[in-house]
Symmetry: C2
Subunit: 327 residues, 2 copies
């Protein structure tokens, strides 16, 4: 697939603004944190939008709630299905509970236990599959057809993208125009949504996606203009193990994103614990991707106003403790 510059784009800023209205009073308006230690270390003025403090611990609630709230009454009655490496699952489960829609969640059997448990805790039915044997999309489609469920994909849906963009909308409305906006990237839902919001609210702002080196399909897609993929990349950033972007996010990323950066897993782990220690925030590996690009100086941000999306905080603490004591 090549991004076609002549096709109309599937999500506009008006969609993000409409999502913000739907989310008002339902999603947390998460705090923006600053740190003189970060600014001294990087030479930038950094503004961290802390979606780890969002409901269910990640930005994913925004997109899920925005999508579920636009289902027809019939669709709501039949229920929804989501497939997810974790946070999207919890997001759909929680949004389902809030909107009275029964959620069925398809998750890989080796997802972090804290995420499986939390998803069940939100009242969802969890169906697990072996990601080494089964294609999750095909598996999910079949299950959805059998039960008549509406599928809420984790990123490749205009309503999901629009919902995620509300994070950047809130950030820029709170702190004013930015020079850069750093956003982690798995399938490009958060990245493209935030880039759309930044383009509208801070037109000079350069939106930059950050991927793990081990799962750099979006970096390669961005450089080549052709959709690239990677298969179950072995990165600790479990939210960015996505196979590839989709036909919704790919053209949006090509249109709205200014650059893509990647960071190594050791850099990511180091920055993640640095955020824990210095900013007192529990951030999951994927959630630390954007901050790592800043802290590791992957580009010169000196003197710039830099927005950084901290995307989530759902990490298995015992796993993290083991990583820390190994380091």
């Amino acid at each position: 697939m090549k991004a076609n510059p002549n096709s109309p784009l599937p999500v506009s800023y008006e969609d993000v603004a409409a999502a913000a209205a739907r989310l008002s009073g339902q999603a947390h308006r998460t705090p923006v944190m600053t740190s003189s230690t970060v600014n001294a270390r990087t030479g930038a003025s950094a503004f961290f939008k802390c979606e780890n403090f969002q409901r269910m611990g990640a930005f994913k609630f925004r997109g899920a709630y925005n999508a579920l709230s636009q289902l027809t009454p019939q669709e709501k009655k039949r229920g929804v299905l989501a497939y997810s490496s974790g946070n999207h699952a919890q997001a759909v489960a929680l949004a389902g509970r809030m909107l009275g829609v029964k959620p069925v969640i398809v998750m890989p059997m080796d997802a972090p236990p804290v995420k499986l448990e939390a998803t069940r805790g939100y009242g969802a039915e969890v169906v697990v599959y072996d990601k080494h044997k089964v294609d999750r999309e095909a598996f999910s489609r079949q299950l959805a057809e059998e039960r008549g469920l509406a599928v809420i994909p984790p990123f490749n849906h205009p309503h999901v993208v629009a919902g995620q963009g509300t994070a950047a909308k809130e950030l820029i409305e709170e702190v004013g125009p930015l020079d850069f906006l750093l956003v982690c990237c798995g399938g490009g839902g958060l990245l493209s949504g935030c880039a759309i919001a930044a383009d509208a609210l801070s037109p000079e702002c350069k939106s930059i996606g950050v991927e793990p080196e081990l799962g750099d399909d979006v970096v390669r897609s961005f450089r080549t203009g052709t959709l690239q993929s990677c298969h179950n990349p072995d990165t600790i950033a479990d939210g960015a193990r996505t196979h590839s972007m989709g036909d919704v996010t790919f053209p949006l990323v090509m249109h709205y994103v200014d650059d893509m950066l990647s960071v190594s897993d050791p850099e990511l782990l180091k920055s993640m614990f640095w955020l824990w220690e210095r900013m007192k925030m529990v951030v999951e590996p994927t959630g630390a991707l954007a901050a790592t690009a800043l802290l590791e100086g992957k580009r010169d941000f000196k003197g710039a106003r830099v927005g950084v999306i901290i995307s989530g905080g759902n990490v298995d603490l015992r796993w993290a403790a083991q990583q820390m004591l190994k380091s």
Copy 2:
């Protein structure tokens, strides 16, 4: 010492309000967090005032800055001395740097390494002592006399108490009247300051202090009306290992505080990690005292609006990782 109900009290709400004006633009106005998971678990509406996101990672900055900014020009020129198990040290070091006052910090040699390091990182001269052999107050007084330094005590000073009270002032101004305010307690500086603010801004609010069971001198002082002490209690709540209250905090606690509760170290550790996992906040053991009283149901808070001060987040992550893997 017995608290004398006829003596004029050493700190008033006007002092807290004046401290708030001095701290404006200098201290972070820390976020107030809510959690539907906490509310579902406790039956209360809980509002967490997150001083772990304060400058240098704890509320102590408030009192230190308020005290240092009221020194005479001569005192500022000669410098200050502080003795502290950790957070007060960093607070005086940072406030000193901001106000151009040279800080000398007396710390126990077995203070958490992260705290010793951070204090030096703020540019302070650190003098260590052996807490098993030397009385820190006598040691500090002698050093201060030799060098002509003004001593900034960690809690027993009206300017320190007034500064700490600004945390509760901000909380109540943001969320409105409370039924209960839960505050951790070491020497009673934060507790008494916050209770003064609550009394003025939310007169029906009951202020409750929370201590570790192993260092329950304030619980016993409160019950008997006579100042009690404990010597180097072996609690993980290192900020609450204080020997006893002082002549400033004791009468304030007796006058303004409605009740005292205590929690065990295992309860504290469990709640601390629960806050990490569920609220995505790095909280130090002392910082989790007040939340533990709520989460462990030490009193019936059902249906009540409960303010909870999270006092700090300066914990050695390697120590915490070891504790987690042991549990």
